[in-house]
Symmetry: C2
Subunit: 431 residues, 2 copies
């Protein structure tokens, strides 16, 4: 094994300056970043990124979904190691969510070029369009994975009713061209993404690197308990059918249900609650609430679904309430490739940087790419677990650690002969 | 004691026709009654009521608060037995809330006149303005009790910002004249009010008459639990400070707190809950909720207040949440006069109509009048406990029973020498 000092490092001042510069594009003076997909700010950021790519002597390109790529050499027959993330933001965002993975990827390519490091597989940086969901989310990565179709593209619109087609046309882009962004899985050796954790674990434990083992699956309900609205002062306690009392009991059962049915990583949240009629002196007649449950184990997730349904049903029956629920979404958990997990871990160890295996509780483009190729993710700490907020922050030291670990991992993965050919996945034809 | 058949009865067809006719004034074709105080419909109903009074050969009058009165004879030195309620409604109302007490009172006066029944104390019907609260509620009875002042009258406005002064001026009335409606407590022998129960007890037990023993006091909080908003997927369960989980635990403690600290009639309701930010995939950072607690025992009500505060505080501390609460209102419980309670009970027994002693969980003008004179209330069943809704209903038979019980009680009370003079209450000067 090489000595620690033998390994190349990122040039941190350059990376820091770029993160700061990109963090000014789309900035509202008072309220953080507004760089939602296909806004002027988002397009300005793409142009800025392409300039940085060319400035580094790399080749920039954009596909039909407006995903921006950077390569050291033109595409050839070999499967490429993709590293990437996104530069679009939610409204009122911080500067690192997505951008960190893209600019660290760019710095890795630059260092490989500068140090003239030979790799078995070509390395490509990719910045995916609309990860954050102005038009639904994961647009660019879904385009690459061949998950889009004309109907999806035609119907995509933002909360103001602007269609994706209109928004892209406003910048001279044709939305249907996203269908051409599909890639042959055999052309992708592996995918690696660095992202801020967006949770409190690394920060609380003081560990700089999270080695993602799996991305959690989830199900999301909109559920309702229906009782009888009545006068709060005149209705005796024993004659009430109070759906909020039922919801409170259900909420109290969450820890037990997770312990009995979920893995150690199971989580459940009630984030939205609405009472009808919602007056202080009226016993509510109806309560609508969201239930968001995630776990990394597909079987446990299924068991959790059954357990939550059973508990809600029992509580409703005992309290003479009606209940119903609608499944708003259901996403299967995804495992990171063990070879990528090990490469990240080895890279951290080589640099003497502490790391921790952990799940990703948030969804990422990596979840989509896992359908095409071996996938892995690296997390860096989010201070206080905050994200999707101008208060989002990661220390510059942690960013430097993360960038160097990615550089290590990229060099290792790009030389791993295991990734030579990828099997064609079901449902994806080769071109 | 007289034979049952000796006692005068109301003329039910007449009463029923009047209830039906008044129930058309302010009716929206699809959505029930809209006869809020000092609207055109409310003024039309006052005029209609005055016509009915004059039609019966009685004397109608209006005081400075626009309370409508009916008397058999002009006022004299003797204290009067007041019977009354209100004819204004909430929006989207049924036809009995308030109107039933007023029209039964009118029928009682008519029967006393028709039967030439002599009474020791003159009987007066009074219909109070704005009981339901377009401008705050209990306006007319508070005017009679001398609880108003120029500032209160000046500041009173409805939810649309219309001032009481403007609304009354629109009908040629001067709001400040309400200050002249104050009465000397010595001029009131006693006050009796019939009202629909607005709760499910009489209907569920199949008893036609509720003999109100006391009107519950209450306190109303707007309370807040503040935690840390976080990503639902990325924040481990043990690292959460979820204020909704805290509220659920608090809600689960309500039955225990009532049992340990309240009387058998203690009630507590959480009717309004708001979560911030209120997104399915975000652990809420803040939850605001109402707590409405009532009891008939003033000491128990005080103990309940302490117990709820203590429990909220303990839950907040254990879960590392902050909490605060604002006391929105606090009303002391009021006892009905035992002589009135007995008179109602005797009247029911005399007619062979079942009765049940019970509390009033809702507030009424009677609660205000209790500050001036011995007070009592009669309840008739609300089917399913429903009120403040076009679905509000009481069977015609129960209404007839209620009317006859009131007639019995009025004759009895108006001849009771005990009510000869009333002590002057503290804070009320005599005129």
């Amino acid at each position: 094994m090489h000595e620690e000092t033998d390994w190349p490092r990122v040039r941190f001042e350059r990376l820091q300056a770029e993160l700061t510069a990109l963090g000014e594009i789309g900035r509202d003076e008072k309220r953080g970043l507004y760089r939602m997909a296909f806004t002027d700010a988002d397009m300005e950021a793409r142009d800025w990124l392409c300039e940085r790519i060319r400035e580094a002597g790399l080749l920039d390109s954009r596909d039909g979904a407006a995903n921006v790529s950077a390569r050291l050499t033109p595409p050839d027959d070999r499967p490429a190691l993709l590293i990437g993330s996104h530069i679009d933001t939610v409204p009122n965002a911080g500067i690192f969510d997505g951008s960190l993975g893209v600019l660290i990827g760019l710095e890795c390519l630059r260092r490989i070029a500068e140090e003239k490091i030979e790799t078995r597989w070509p390395v490509e940086l990719i910045s995916f369009s609309d990860e954050e969901g102005r038009f639904g989310g994961m647009f660019g990565s879904q385009a690459v994975a061949g998950m889009l179709n004309p109907e999806i593209i035609h119907n995509a619109r933002d909360l103001d009713g602007v269609t994706l087609t209109e928004a892209m046309a406003g910048h001279g882009l044709v939305a249907m061209d996203a269908l051409n962004a599909r890639r042959d899985p055999r052309a992708i050796a592996a995918y690696l993404e660095l992202h801020i954790e967006q949770g409190p674990v690394l920060d609380a434990k003081g560990v700089p690197i999270g080695v993602v083992e799996n991305i959690t699956g989830l199900f999301k309900w909109s559920a309702r308990l229906i009782g009888t609205p009545n006068h709060a002062g005149t209705t005796p306690m024993e004659m009430r059918h109070d759906p909020f009392a039922g919801l409170a009991e259900f909420t109290g059962e969450i820890p037990r249900i997770l312990e009995e049915n979920g893995s150690d990583l199971a989580r459940a949240t009630i984030g939205r609650v609405e009472l009808l009629p919602g007056a202080a002196n009226t016993i509510p007649g109806e309560v609508t609430f969201s239930l968001d449950v995630s776990d990394t184990d597909p079987e446990k997730l299924e068991e959790l679904h059954d357990a939550f349904r059973r508990t809600l049903s029992v509580i409703a029956r005992r309290r003479t309430l009606m209940f119903d629920f609608e499944i708003l979404s259901r996403i299967e958990p995804v495992r990171c490739d063990p070879r990528v997990v090990e490469a990240v871990e080895k890279g951290s160890a080589r640099l003497g940087i502490g790391s921790l295996r952990m799940p990703s509780g948030a969804a990422h483009d990596a979840q989509i790419l896992a359908q095409l190729a071996p996938m892995g993710m690296v997390f860096v700490p989010s201070i206080g677990g905050v994200s999707h907020s101008p208060a989002e922050w990661t220390s510059w030291q942690d960013i430097e650690h993360g960038a160097n670990v990615v550089l290590q991992t990229v060099i290792e993965l790009a030389n791993n002969p295991d990734f030579a050919t990828q099997p064609t996945r079901a449902g994806l034809t080769t071109s």
